[in-house]
Symmetry: C4
């Protein structure tokens, strides 16, 4: 049996009705090593499993007979309208899943009016992606969908700034600084022909730590970004600035104090530190701390429109999906990604209809019935014998 | 191997001792597509599983040596006596399970003195079902069992009113307006010869949403019933009016304020919105809000007489069973349904005897030991470092 | 392959180190129908599983370096000394497991100094069992171990009284009235040669309800014992009187008010009503209500010496084991039962040693770390939107 | 197929990236009986499973963009610096896993700068181990890593004292008195050529209780160490004294009052009493009681660097690993053990980096999100009917 993956399909199979159907089919369309790299969680996969389980523990309590005429999923976020509280999360090296890579993805996003976040580690240059968005919008006769650029801080500030300037010049509408994966282990080798296209002139920037090598005391830690780098970045650009990878309430406030316009709660899909809780488990505490000062986004574990509703009911302004876009891209390219986005949006609409919520602002905690959950810092009680 | 399902049995096999035994056997007696349509839950089946698990978490605490002479399962509900706190829930298209369809079911209900709720989407006309009830009662020399009509609001009020008038004329004793499934996804094609018999003159009325199609902004939402439609319906008929699909305490009060005489807590057997909690999980909160103003019924997950006792101990006046009637119908027709109802009633009696409850009014929370459960709107607590 | 069970072993296999090892081996030594009858729980087996799981959730917190010289498992109970806080629970028809039946069991109990409770439904007469105890004690040169008689109330008081008088005359030291199984379903047919030996002159007394037959309104309920029967029985005998099958605190107090000298918390090994909690889950509440007025015993789920320690730490004076005695009896007759009792006692001693408890009185809640558990009557909380 | 285990590997396979990979491979390198002896938990393995599950329930909450320059895992403990908050737990008879036994282990510990605790039941004499440490340090040009001696109290105080004096003379830096396993069951026979080398002149000292034999009332209990023996031992030596096997807060205080300099929370890897909670479940209560009077160490269940971080965040000063050192030793001898220690340390560093903790002192409860957990002595609540 050959290891060569099956080519992308040219039509969407009728049995694909949910994102899980794309996930089930995607493996056949990707090289085994790339599939493993995409799917695996770090460590023992505890966080990867928690990301899904956390959503399933949150019950949805319907409201009936509400007036749903004029219902809409639209939101206002960072100065413009989004068709739904949903964006594509930054995912690196999309050409490992499909020959067109990020170009197919941005066309799908444009067709669906859903925002896309382009990774620093995209396998197509950010300029080409921006051009593809414009071309698709023109062809479809629609407005271009939101396009954001995800930034990994580069070893030198000049290199980081160069990326920012390129994103500004190409018409990107926001910057998303990822802060959670600056130090991690990596064991994946890119297949031939796939590279970090934005960094052709530079060294790859994610400071991957070889497996089983001492970290502390090495120069790696000197290169890791710090709060002062966030403040510096804030001063360099007028683009809205999101910080991705925040999980703790105190970090959330600190990020806002350093100039962030919005935050993305994320455990990087369980890829960085096994044992991290699902972001949805920390969202209420972060929302309480932030108290409306800035919008909160969330990724890691979103697989259903109902998950979007849950996140919004607990305080998120929008969510992002990561792996699912790659599953759909591998299976059916641009059409697959567009279809996956349509499924999520339709599921969200059906959920909102059942919850009696004509707008996302109606999604509130009274629509939820949640399981008792962990308490930070109070792990065990002990009652000595009276 | 042929796909043709086995014909219904003419005698009840001796190994059938519980409703689960009917469920296990029923698949062989139904076309595969019909079986899937009957059994599946929406989404990932989280709600479907929760419906059963919620009951298993509620412990039953017995009371011994009580005087059980004269014990009875009878209840008074909506103006008449029921032999047990149990009714048949509305289930559409019963001829997909058995050639006699609803006619077999109503004969079984009559034989057992158990009420039946006829679906708007019955595969036999409501008039034929009413006539079959009368014929069976005459043949058996018993009083006719309660007969209710379940109503899906039709696109035009005239069409809805026509159904109400037909139900009134045919001797139906109550109307049950279903409000939870007016907007949902549907992918099942009726087999030849099975149709919505009550609606032959009209278009099918359940506004099924094709898979993967945008809902918001389409005319579908304009047709969905609203609170004002409930008030209108209330004004059209003197029949007792139940509203089915209520889950939230505020909706319960609102339904009563709009004229409902009783409420049915239901998540439609996990068929409408995956992620909904089991109705039994919300029953105490609804009962507390309603505070005795109206009887509460409950379906979704009832498979044992002990489940009936649990629901009543938490505030329900009666329960309904949906899928189990179809399982028994497919296996052994009228005899199967009657036997399934007998099993439930006998199990309820044994449970009441062990709990020391000679009447259903004795079923109270002190008979339960329940697991800690979810809290609406308080999903997570966070204690920052002191 | 023949259905004939393997004969009992004449030596204990060296791989038997725990009661679970007897259980694993016992099936081969029993007729299939008898094995099923012995092992099965009622309903879906939820209670059967809960009986074990409840113990596994109770953590044991050791104490080190305590002075264990003179440590002992002895207890005083109902006027005499027991070698350990452990008795054999009443188990009917033991000749279905071994040709010697209860005679082998009582010899094992005598050899180990462990009390035995003889069932009304024993397959050997109570007089023969008492004589076998005396003969074994004489042969072994030990004192006879405690011998109790379990009573099912007979349809007429004269029949009940006759059994009491026979037990008194044969030297039984206590009566245990079982109150939890007077009305239940039964589907087991005794094999040839096995009968309720004590009731040869009478009809079997357990009012078994045929499967799937209406109970309420039948004479069965008239025959069921009531609180007044307990008071009557109390007045008939000077033997200590235990009531078995109590689970609720209010029933416990009522039983004491009607003359019980001790109570046995039991769900009959999950054989009577599926959905009942494990007795250990209710023990603390019952102990709190009883407040030392009378000793509490407990059965259902005891499989380890550590379980005995857990029950005592939560307020039990002693425990009983049911099915395990039959497993050991089937595998190796008298030697098997004696060995099983030795295992339990040795495990208890090792547990007490690790917990730093030289006497059973030292077993207290401070030796436990328990999981959050159910609350009676407070199943769900609901916080409406503020 | 021969039962002979595979010889140790001479190079570390590239697929070994975690301690679990060593565990998976180790079975092939050990005799079956030795493997079973190493791996099994006592009883039903409830505690063995709890040791891992308890860690997985403790979520890790990251902090981002912290200044990690100069980060270090170093700690000060009992008067000297350790390279990481990690030591090798005492493990008996290491020559059953590898021909070099403890000599390979101490060389690995020295190479990694990680402390080793030598068991009383080592299969190489404590003097040989100390000499091997010195030789390895000289060869590698490093300082000798910490070397501690684990003591089982011997039947006579002279025998215990002789071991202490030998440890002092050989340069051991601390004594760790194990108090949790003085009375337990044992069924393992040492393979030929493996013995308790330190006790050649004496009888084996762990007072193993033969299976299924009565314990109470035998001389075994007289020989078990008591609090007064701890006080005596304290008076005999100036070495720092750790007491291992403490789980309860009151025992912790009592051990300090009797002269212990540090405590090791341990359930002996689930080998002593099934049903004991994981030490991590009791750590917060013990830490609260001890209130900084002495350092707390912990073993049982540590398999990941993240587990070390969890333990430290809840109050531990350091942790020990037991079985994992044997897995690595069996697979690849000295190189395996060194690699396993490197993995743990690297994982700890990555965890600290993600948690934003440049020093172990920064690991605090605010880095955790923990599940609701057991309460000692408050197992069940009961609310009688109002």
């Amino acid at each position: 049996m050959s290891d060569a993956p099956a080519p992308p399909l040219t039509a969407i199979p009728p049995d694909i009705k949910a994102l899980a159907d794309y996930e089930r089919r995607a493996q056949a369309h990707m090289p085994p090593a790339a599939w493993t790299y995409l799917q695996e969680g770090t460590g023992d996969g505890v966080t990867l499993a928690a990301n899904r389980a956390a959503f399933d523990r949150i019950g949805l309590v319907p409201r009936v007979l509400r007036d749903l005429r004029g219902a809409t999923t639209h939101i206002e976020l960072l100065g413009r309208t989004h068709a739904a509280p949903l964006l594509l999360a930054p995912v690196a090296y999309q050409r490992i899943a499909h020959p067109e890579g990020e170009l197919a993805t941005v066309r799908a996003a444009t067709a669906m009016g859903i925002g896309m976040t382009v990774s620093t580690l995209a396998s197509v240059t950010l300029e080409e992606i921006a051009a593809a968005r414009q071309a698709a919008a023109t062809e479809l006769g629609t407005a271009p969908a939101p396009l954001w650029f995800q930034l990994y801080m580069q070893p030198g500030r000049e290199a980081s700034l160069a990326l920012v300037r390129r994103a500004e010049a190409a018409g990107y509408e926001a910057l998303m600084l990822t802060v959670d994966a600056s130090i991690k282990r990596s064991g994946f080798t890119l297949p031939p022909g796939v590279e970090a296209a934005n960094l052709r002139a530079a060294r790859p920037t994610q400071t991957a730590q070889p497996l089983g090598r001492i970290l502390f005391g090495t120069p790696l830690l000197d290169a890791a970004p710090r709060w002062e780098d966030l403040a510096w970045l804030r001063a360099q650009t007028r683009l809205p600035l999101l910080v991705k990878g925040i999980m703790a309430p105190d970090d959330a406030l600190r990020a806002l104090d350093h100039g962030a316009d919005a935050l993305v709660l994320s455990n990087h899909g369980g890829r960085v530190l096994d044992g991290m809780p699902a972001p949805i488990a920390l969202l209420p505490a972060v929302a309480q701390a932030v108290a409306g000062r800035a919008p909160l986004l969330l990724d890691s574990g979103i697989r259903r429109g109902a998950d979007i509703a849950r996140a919004l009911a607990l305080g998120a302004a929008a969510v992002l999906v990561g792996r699912p876009q790659v599953h759909a891209l591998a299976v059916a390219g641009m059409a697959g990604v567009a279809h996956a986005l349509l499924i999520l949006r339709t599921e969200l609409e059906l959920t909102m209809a059942q919850l009696g919520c004509p707008t996302v602002a109606d999604l509130a905690p009274d629509r939820l019935l949640t399981a008792p959950t962990p308490v930070e810092g109070e792990p065990f009680r002990h009652s000595p014998r009276a």
